[in-house]
Subunit: 109 residues, 2 copies
């Protein structure tokens, strides 16, 4: 596999970001990945395997994998709530005014 230098990735993105629509879509993708990773993190913090969370949710290990790898990257609110519940979490959503640079349309914490 060819090695990719980070600095080149950055340069490349900066160039592509001149296309505002591309930038928008890119940010949305980042947001979804962040959400997927957060779910994986919360699960691991609970010392659960994918199969354990799956059982709580009443679904399959594979589906959890799909969610966490971002293959299922457009979750519905219901699914998000269900997952959070199974991990002993509530969800807070707020809508702050768009920041000037708005590098992140969605912040997951």
């Amino acid at each position: 596999m060819k090695k990719v230098k980070l600095e080149n990735v950055n340069k490349d993105l900066k160039e592509k970001f001149k296309d505002k629509e591309f930038k928008r879509l890119y940010e949305v993708e980042c947001a979804k990945v962040a959400l997927a990773q957060k779910i994986a993190e919360l699960r691991q913090d609970s010392n659960l395997r994918q199969i354990d969370l799956a059982k709580r949710l009443g679904t399959s290990q594979q589906f959890i994998s799909q969610i966490e790898t971002g293959e299922e990257k457009n979750l519905t609110i219901s699914t998000l709530i269900k997952i959070a519940e199974c991990l002993g979490r509530d969800i807070n959503i707020s809508f702050p005014k768009q920041s000037k640079k708005h590098t992140h349309c969605l912040k997951v914490t």
Copy 2:
């Protein structure tokens, strides 16, 4: 139309909440309605009509109505992000530990 007393509603709910599954579903519904209302509120704060937001989103007034009345009550993250963007908002999502009483699985602010 028969007049409904609030105290009776409360009593009734309290009774029904003994069924934990009912309580859970009820809370999820509340959450979705809260989200729908928040969207309507943000739109009104921006002095936009449904048709204006619809145009920004590239959709129809009726669809916005469906979202705000909670008829479309299971929005996807993408739709939520798109709407927020059109209203000049970012989105913050966090997953606090479930509160003891957890009367609200999802808090919208």
